[in-house]
């Protein structure tokens, strides 16, 4: 495969890449000027629709379609929320985009607002990115000074204000309706849909929520056209008329036990193994890989034998994972205990469950207590079936919760135990030789705390 010329990361690493001067010198804001002069908002929606751009935040919903759900002729205001609450463990592509090339995202945001007729955009930025906050605030000030933001942008009728809104370290704020509730000043409890945000969102007005990387893609679709975008990636399945395909470049994060962890831009559809060996520099310390997370821990686990899995929107699903997610690959080498891995991911989900839906709040915490008991050498084989049962019963797929956090908690449980059952059984038998077959209930007072 020939090396791919990066587009989204083209400016990253250049001197002063975060400034307006450097961005404009590299051709920035030309697309915005052209679109505002020559195209109507509807044209921009159609352009993005025809590119088949799918949201980069995790769910992969077609971006143009989302925009077209907004009511026509609404008196307004319409709001745009930029989802910069990137909290999925092992994901950091949005941070790099915001810290090192904030204008690329702002240009996409302005284009997105023009297309959706939004007059205010809020960038919901997670607390953990202070450097991104500074860079975004500075970039927004530069845009106001240059006339890219404010009243009558570039002499047109179009006006827009962009504000950064800082989160407070809660994973659930990355869920679009949780984000909206948090922005409104309430606890970030996701809303029951419908109504979808496009109809009734922020401040009960039509709202579009887009991820940072999605908006960066919009910038390049405006500059280079939909055909260019569709020349990259994996085409849609001709036998499935509802498959929008996996087009365009994607930022892949690779972390964990590899020699060169980092963020790499590649066409959608690269295989997990190629990403690890060719771009991540292979598994560290000359060891072998045992497994990898395909796209943030919510997506589950691929075994080393499944590394031929293509990382496009349809690929991980064929290997029993939840989906592509954020395309953040974390590699586990042969020394890692899958029990520890599952304990870590379950602890994360139990900590970040917002507490609104009982199956998620109780299910994640229950599974965590079971895993703590297993780690403490008091596990029973029956616990594994219990964890699987919890996993099969929480989430929007079985239909028991409002948002997908619980599905993200369930998939690592189901994948880890179904793909590595023998290792779990050996661990339990080895650490609890006298009691691994016991099946009677554990008394509440015997709960063990590991951490």
């Amino acid at each position: 495969m020939p090396d791919f010329e990066p587009v989204l990361l083209a400016n990253i690493g250049k001197p002063e890449s975060h400034t307006l001067k450097a961005y404009e010198a590299a051709g920035g804001y030309r697309a915005l000027k052209q679109m505002l002069k020559e195209k109507t908002p509807l044209d921009v929606v159609e352009l993005v629709k025809s590119s088949n751009l799918r949201g980069r935040g995790g769910a992969g919903f077609p971006c143009g379609l989302k925009w077209s759900f907004l009511p026509k002729d609404h008196p307004g205001p319409i709001y745009m929320c930029v989802n910069a609450d990137e909290s999925e463990p092992a994901t950091f592509n949005n941070r790099i985009l915001m810290e090192q090339d904030p204008h690329q995202m702002l240009e996409g945001t302005i284009l997105g607002c023009y297309a959706t007729r939004a007059s205010t955009a809020y960038i919901y930025l997670r607390y953990e990115y202070p450097q991104a906050l500074n860079r975004l605030e500075a970039a927004i000030a530069e845009c106001y000074a240059q006339g890219y933001l404010g009243k009558n942008i570039l002499g047109t009728e179009f006006s827009l204000d962009i504000y950064v809104h800082r989160g407070a370290a809660a994973y659930i704020c990355g869920e679009e309706t949780g984000l909206i509730e948090s922005l409104e000043g309430k606890r970030a409890w996701p809303r029951i849909k419908p109504p979808f945000p496009a109809v009734e969102g922020l401040f009960r007005k039509p709202t579009v929520v887009n991820n940072v990387e999605t908006l960066c893609c919009v910038t390049h679709i405006a500059a280079r056209g939909a055909d260019w975008f569709k020349s990259i990636g994996v085409p849609s399945d001709p036998n499935n008329p509802r498959d929008p395909g996996s087009y365009g470049p994607k930022l892949y994060c690779i972390s964990g036990h590899v020699n060169k962890p980092g963020c790499y831009e590649l066409p959608l559809g690269v295989t997990c193994g190629e990403l690890i060996d060719r771009h991540g520099g292979g598994v560290w310390k000359g060891r072998k890989a045992k497994a990898a997370v395909p796209g943030g821990i919510s997506m589950g686990l691929l075994t080393a034998a499944e590394f031929d899995c293509p990382l496009d929107f349809a690929g991980p699903g064929r290997y029993g994972c939840l989906g592509l997610g954020t395309a953040a690959v974390t590699v586990l080498d042969e020394t890692v205990s899958i029990v520890d891995f599952l304990h870590n991911t379950t602890r994360f989900m139990a900590h970040e469950s917002c507490g609104q839906c009982t199956p998620c709040r109780e299910g994640t915490a229950w599974a965590l207590r079971l895993l703590e008991r297993i780690k403490a050498g008091k596990g029973r084989l029956a616990d594994l079936d219990l964890i699987l049962e919890i996993g099969d019963n929480i989430g929007i797929i079985p239909g028991t919760t409002i948002c997908g956090l619980a599905d993200g908690a369930a998939w690592p449980m189901k994948n880890s135990i179904r793909k590595f059952r023998e290792e779990f059984e050996q661990h339990i038998k080895g650490t609890n030789p006298g009691g691994y077959m016991v099946t009677e209930a554990v008394r509440a007072l015997q709960v063990i705390k590991v951490h």
Binding site: P77, E86, S87, E88, P89, A90, T91, F92, N94, R95, R126, Y127, E128, Y129, P130, Q131, N134, D161, Y163, H165, R166, G167, A168, A169, A170, Y171, S182, L183, E184, G185, K186, R187, A188, F203, C253, S255, G256, H257, P261, G262, C263, V293, I297, A328, T330, L332, V336, D340, F341, N344, T345, F348, H351, E352, C354
Partner: protein
């Protein structure tokens, strides 16, 4: 009659909070920005400050407290230390020794996660993914991410407080 009690939010803090008003169509949306402003100045948000924020935002104190308590980010009993160190324990850092760094820092500082040293210099917190996984393990202190931490570098971090 009770004597007038002293205000917690001084004029600077109030002005900073009010500067957010034009950004949002409702006052309630200023809750999170206001909590951040108060936390930046006082390093905690005591109940008395919650009452004053609520008055500014034309809300009930319970509305503000409801939001505040959801996040687990704002301390209410006592200010956090001069440095608040968020040590990542999520998967990418855990695979590269993040938990060991956390344990070492807590052991050296003589505190558990969530606690502040007696001299008020350091608060250690566990963080879920800081989004700096290419530099794992890492910790966030103020605006600075300390990257690729080893036990030795954790000691250097402590000595420079």
């Amino acid at each position: 009659m009770n004597p007038p009690t002293e205000r917690i939010l001084n004029d600077t803090i109030v002005a900073e909070i009010k500067a957010y008003f034009p950004r949002y169509p409702t006052r309630q949306a200023v809750t999170l920005p206001a909590l951040h402003v108060v936390n930046r100045h006082l390093r905690y948000v005591p109940l008395a400050a919650v009452v004053e924020i609520a008055a500014l935002l034309e809300l009930h104190p319970a509305d503000v407290q409801d939001t505040l308590s959801f996040y687990g980010f704002f301390k209410q009993d006592a200010p956090h230390g001069e440095t608040r160190a968020w040590v990542c324990r999520s998967i990418a850092c855990a695979l590269r020794g993040g938990e060991e760094v956390l344990e070492h820092l807590c052991h050296k500082a003589g505190i558990a996660p969530g606690q502040t040293t007696p001299d008020g210099k350091l608060t250690i917190e566990v963080a879920e993914c800081l989004g700096a996984c290419e530099f794992a393990p890492c910790l966030l202190a103020g605006d600075i991410v300390h990257k690729d931490l080893t036990i030795e570098q954790a000691d250097v971090f402590l000595s420079q407080l």
